[in-house]
Amino acid sequence: MSTRSDIFLTAVILSERGESKDPYSRLGCHPEPAWRANAPSICHPERSARSGFLSRLFCGTGGRAAEGSAVSSCGNEGAHLQARRNRSHHLSSRGDFSPRGICFSRLSSLVLVSLFCLLLISTLGSAQQITPWNQIQAPPLPAFTPPEPTRVQLANGLVIFLQPDLELPLINATARIRGGAISEPASKAGLTDLYGEVWRTGGTKTKTGDQMDDFLEAHAAKIETDNESDSTSISLDCLKNDFDAVFAMYLDLLHNPEFRDDKLQLAKAQMYTGIARRNDDVGSIVHRESLVIAFGKDNPYSRIAQYSSVAKVTRQDLVNWHRQYVYPNNIVFGITGDFDPKDMEAKLRPAFDSWQKGPAAQQPDIKFTEPKPGIYFVRKTDVNQSSINLLDLGIERSNPDYYAVTVMNEVFGGGFSSRLFNKLRSEKGLAYDVGGGVGSGWDHPGLTNFEMQTKSATTVEGIQGLDDEIDDLLKNPATPAELKRAKDDILNSFIFRFDTPEKVLHEKMAYEFYHYPLDFLEHYRTEVEKVTSDDVARVAHKYVHKDKLAVLVVGNDTEFGKALSSLGPVQDVDITIPPPPPGLMGEGGQGGPQ
C-alpha cells in the first residue's frame, strides 16, 4: 500500500528540491515515525519519511518536535546532587515505602547500598530491586565493528561499494552521478527536476516507462531516478530473487533512456502545479526565501523554477544532460542486501567494465557573499503564527572548526535540552518549533539558521528572544556541564551513525562523492572528543554574528503585537509568482491557477 503519490505530492506541491539542497537540514520532526507501509493503518497508507505533507494533513498530532540532532546532558552535577537529596522527601511525601527510598541513603558505597537493598527486599518478601536512575551502572557496550563495504574502482573510474546485509532477502542499489541543479542554466531552472523525473517515466529505447511500471510493480520492485542540488541518481530496490531481471532493466535505463516527450509534458504540468501552490504553505516559503536571503538571489543553491524556465526545457535538454554527465568516472555506485560480495562483483564488473569514460563533471564556480543584514518580511494573511528565521552563511564541513561548531550547535539549538528549547519553548512557552545552529555543507557553506514559530502577537518578542539567546551565547558560550552534555550526547549516540550496514554504506558513498577521507567518521569522533569550552567560545564569536544576521519573518502583520519596524527598517519581500507565459497551460489558453 505504499504509494509513490506521496512522493509526487511532496515534490510537486511543495516544489522543493531534495533536502540536500538545504545545507542545514534539521533532523527529526516527523509527525509520525516512518514505519512499515502496509499495516492496517493507524493513519493512512502513505507513511514514508517523505510524506510530510500527507502525514501533516491526515495524521493525529505528532510528537514533540525534537529538532536537531539533540543536545543533552546529565553532567549537570548540581542538578544531580539536588535531585538525589530530594529523593527521600518525595518518597515520604508519596507515603510510598519502597526499597528505592532506602537505597537512597547517604551511604556512599554503591556496593553497600545494593547489599542493603537486597537484604531489605528479602525481608519484605518483594522481588523488586530498583536502582535510582542516576545510580545505574551501564555495562560496557559490547565491542562492535561496523561492517565495512568493499570498495572497487573499475578502470573506467566507476567506484563501487559492496555492502552485504544477509538479514532480509532484499537488494538495494544506488548510483549517484555528479552534476545537479547548481549546474543547470539559470534560464532553465527546473531542468534537473524534470530530468530526475522523466529519466524514469520516459522509459528506455525498447520499453516505455509504463511498461517498466507494469513489470516492476508486479514484482514489488522499484527503479527510480532522482535529483539533488549537486547530483542525480538512479536506484533499484527489489526482492533478491528478482535482482537479475530488475538489474537488467536498471542497466537499460542507465544506458538507453528515451525521455519520451509525453512524460516530459506530464512532468512539466506537475511542476506548474507545484509552482502555483508554492505560497500556500509557510514551510515552503521559508525554505525558499531563506536560501535566497542567505545565499543571494542569483546563487545556484537558491534558484527556483518558474513557469517560464520550466516551459523552456525541451526533450533535447534532457538528452544532452544525460550525455554530458552520465559516465562511469562521474559515478559512485553502492549496493547492499542479501548477496555474496564476490558473486555480486562478478555480476557488476561485466555490466560496467565496457562502459567508456567521458568528460569529468565540472563543479560550477559559485560565489558566496554574506547576506545583507536587516528585517525581511513576507506577508501572509491566512496564518495566525509567524515563522522567524535568523540567517547567515555557515561553514564547510572540511573546516577544522566543524567539530567545535557541532558541539556549539548541540549546546545552543539542537535537541530537547538545548538553550533555545529550554528558554523559548519550555520556559517562555513561545514556540512549539524552535532551534537552529551554524550550518555546514560538504563542499560549500551551509545555511546558518536560528528559527522559531510563534503566534503573531509575539513575533517581536520571539525575535528578541532569539537575539537575547545569541547575546548570551557570546557572553557565556558553554559551561563545563553544558560542554560535557553536548559531547556525551554526540559521542554516546555515535553508534547510531553506523548501526546498520546501509548507514555505513551511505556514509562511505558521501565521503567518496565529496572527496573526504573514507575514515572521516572515526576522525570526527576523535575531533569531537578534543573540543574544549574555549573552542566553543572561539567558534561562537567567529561564526555567530548577531549584527550580521538577516531576519526573515513570514506572518500576518495585522495581528502583530508590536510592529516589526520597532526593531529597525523592514524590507518587504515580494513572493508573487511570476505569471506563466500566455497559453502555457492549454485549457483555452488560460494562464495561472484558477
Binding site: F8, A34, W35, A37, C59, A70, A127, V383, Y432
Partner: protein, 513 residues
C-alpha cells in the same frame, strides 16, 4: 506453542513468495519473546543482535478519542507532560515543589471559575485571580530543571526521542545503545508511574503554538478540521486531536492527571522492544521496574457508534490556497472481517504508477498532480472513513476531480478488478512486510501495534493470510456497500483571491453527480 509455530512456518512456505520461504521466516519468529507482567503490562521483544542498540515503542491504548467532553486535546497534552519529568527527574526539590504545584492548581481553579462565568464576571476579581495564579506558577517554577528527562536520555546516547498522539493511541519512542537497557527501564517506568505536571500552563501555550502551526496556518489543516467535524457527528473522530482553542485555554493539570490515572495503566499499555537484547537478561529488568506499576484493570470504553449517514454532506472552504479535493465514505473499524478488502481497494486505486487513480487522473486525463484513495482516516480503531483526495493541476477544478474519482469508483462497483491487479496487491503486501522488518524502530512500533490491537503480535504475519483470501468478488461487494452517495462527505478548498471576494451565497461548491 510449538505446534503453532510449525503451522505458521507452513503458512509462510505456502503463502509467501519464494524468496521469503527460502530465507526461513520461522527463524524470525524464534527471535520473539512475549511477557505479560502480573499487573497486565505486555512486552514483546524481538531479538535482533546485528548491532548493540535497541529501540522501544510504548503504546498506550488511548488517544484523543478518549478526550473528555470540553477537554479536547487532553490526550495530546498528557503526551507532552510525559516529558516533564517525575519526582526524581526535573526538579531541584520535589518536596517543596509538590505543594507549590498544588497551589498552582488551586489558584487556577479559582481563576478559571471566574473566567468562564457567562454572567456576572467581575473583571477586577478576574485580574486578581489571574495574578495569584501567575504568582503560584512562578513559585513552582523555581524548582524546575527544564527538560532534564530529555537531557538524561540524550546524554546517554538516546536518539529519536519523540512521541505522538492520534485519535486511537498515544505512543512514546526512542533508541539507545543496548548497554543502557536498565536506565531505559528506570526512566520509562518512572514516567509511566509518576509524571509530574510541572510547567503545565507554559506547555499548554506550546501546544497552542502547535495548533496554530498544524491546523490554523495550513490550508489542509483548516479543511480537515472542518471536514471531520462534518463527516462524523457522534463518533469521537469529529473532534480535533490537537484540541479546540477554547478547550486548550481551559483544561488544567488536574484534568491531565486524571486522564493519566484512568488510561495510563499497565493493562492498557504494550511495549515493543527490538534490538540486541537477551530476553533472559531483559525480562527480569523489565519486571523489576515495570512491575511497580499499579495493577489497575483496563478501562472500559463506552463508545457511541456513528449513526448511518443518510445524506450527502459537504464542506467548502473559501481560502487563499489553491484548490484541493477530499471525500470520504464511512466504513467499519479495523476489526471488520473485510478489513483486508479495503486494503486491496486502496492498493489497486493508489499504489504507485500502475494504480487506477494515477493512470486515470494523472497520466491519461492530466487533470491532477496526485490522486489517491486510502483507509484509516482519521483513525481506524472505530468506524472511520475510506477517503479519496486529488490535487488539481492549474486550470482544473475540484468538480473535475470528483467526477473522475467517481468514474473509478463506479468501475469497482460494476466490474471485477483484473487478476493481475489482485495479484499485484498480494505480492506487494508480502514484500512490504519483509521491508518493514528492516528497522528496529519500525519493528518495535509494529509489535506494539499488533499486540495492542489484536492481542497477539503474530497478527503482523497472519495479516498475510487475510490478504491472500481477498477475492475479486469481495472487492466488488465491498465497493457497492460503501461507496454510496448518501454515505459520502465532500471537502473542498475553493480558491478565493483578495480581488475576487464572492458575495454572500456565491460559493457554488462542487456539483454533485
Amino acid at each position: 506453542m510449538k505446534l503453532w509455530f510449525a503451522k505458521l512456518a507452513a503458512l509462510f512456505l505456502l503463502a509467501v513468495v519464494l524468496p521469503l520461504a527460502a530465507q526461513d521466516l520461522a527463524s524470525y519468529e524464534r527471535r520473539v519473546s512475549v511477557k505479560t507482567l502480573p499487573n497486565g503490562l505486555t512486552v514483546v521483544l524481538w531479538r535482533r543482535p546485528e548491532a548493540p542498540v535497541f529501540s522501544f515503542f510504548t503504546q498506550v491504548d488511548a488517544g484523543s478519542a478518549q478526550d473528555p467532553l470540553n477537554e479536547t486535546g487532553l490526550a495530546h497534552m498528557m503526551e507532552h507532560m510525559a516529558f516533564k519529568g517525575t519526582p526524581d527527574i526535573g526538579t531541584t526539590d520535589y518536596a517543596a515543589e509538590k505543594p507549590a504545584l498544588e497551589k498552582v492548581e488551586q489558584a487556577y481553579a479559582a481563576y478559571e471559575a471566574e473566567r468562564i462565568k457567562r454572567v456576572g464576571q467581575d473583571p477586577q476579581k478576574l485580574a486578581q485571580l489571574q495574578k495569584a495564579w501567575e504568582n503560584a506558577r512562578d513559585a513552582a517554577e523555581k524548582y524546575v530543571i527544564p527538560n532534564q528527562f530529555g537531557e538524561v536520555v540524550e546524554s546517554h546516547g538516546g536518539v529519536g526521542l519523540n512521541a505522538f498522539t492520534n485519535y486511537d493511541e498515544t505512543a512514546y519512542m526512542y533508541s539507545m545503545p543496548s548497554n543502557q537497557l536498565e536506565l531505559w527501564a528506570a526512566l520509562e517506568s518512572d514516567r509511566m508511574m509518576h509524571p509530574v505536571m510541572r510547567q503545565f500552563y507554559k506547555e499548554r501555550n506550546v501546544v497552542m503554538e502547535e495548533r496554530r502551526m498544524r491546523t490554523d496556518s495550513r490550508p489542509t489543516g483548516r479543511l480537515v478540521e472542518q471536514f471531520l467535524g462534518t463527516a462524523f457527528m457522534a463518533n469521537p473522530y469529529h473532534r480535533p486531536t490537537i484540541g479546540y482553542a477554547s478547550d486548550l485555554q481551559s483544561f488544567s493539570a488536574t484534568d491531565a492527571a486524571d486522564f493519566f490515572k484512568r488510561y495510563y495503566v499497565p493493562s492498557n499499555m504494550v511495549i515493543g522492544l527490538v534490538g540486541d537484547l537477551d530476553p533472559d537478561v531483559v525480562f527480569p529488568i523489565v519486571e523489576r521496574y515495570f512491575g511497580q506499576l499499579s495493577n489497575t484493570p483496563k478501562p472500559v470504553e463506552p463508545y457511541t457508534v456513528e449513526a448511518p449517514q443518510n445524506s450527502v454532506r459537504e464542506v467548502t472552504l473559501q481560502d487563499p490556497a489553491q484548490p484541493f479535493y477530499l471525500e470520504g465514505y464511512h466504513r467499519p473499524s479495523y476489526l471488520a472481517p473485510d478489513d483486508a478488502v479495503y486494503d486491496a481497494i486502496s492498493d489497486i486505486l493508489s499504489n504507485g504508477r500502475t494504480s487506477r487513480l494515477y493512470r486515470s487522473l494523472v497520466r491519461d486525463q492530466q487533470i491532477a498532480a496526485v490522486a489517491a484513495g486510502f483507509s484509516g482516516f482519521p483513525g481506524n480503531k472505530y468506524s472511520h472513513l475510506f477517503a479519496f483526495y486529488a490535487v488539481p493541476l492549474p486550470g482544473h477544478t475540484t468538480g473535475e476531480m470528483q467526477k473522475a474519482i467517481h468514474v473509478e469508483i463506479e468501475k469497482l462497483k460494476t466490474q471485477e478488478v483484473t487478476d493481475d491487479e489482485l495479484q499485484m496487491f498480494k505480492t506487494r503486501t508480502k514484500a512490504d512486510l519483509i521491508r518493514g522488518l528492516a528497522g528496529n524502530e519500525g519493528l518495535a512500533q509494529q509489535l506494539a501495534y499488533y499486540q495492542t490491537r489484536y492481542g497477539d503480535w503474530r497478527e503482523l504475519f497472519r495479516y498475510l493470510d487475510r490478504v491472500d483470501k481477498v477475492t475479486k468478488a469481495d472487492i466488488r461487494r465491498v465497493s457497492n456497500q460503501v461507496f454510496q452517495d448518501t454515505n459520502r462527505t465532500v471537502g473542498v478548498i475553493q480558491t478565493q483571491t483578495a480581488s475576487s471576494q464572492p458575495g454572500p451565497g456565491a460559493s457554488k461548491g462542487v456539483e454533485q453527480q
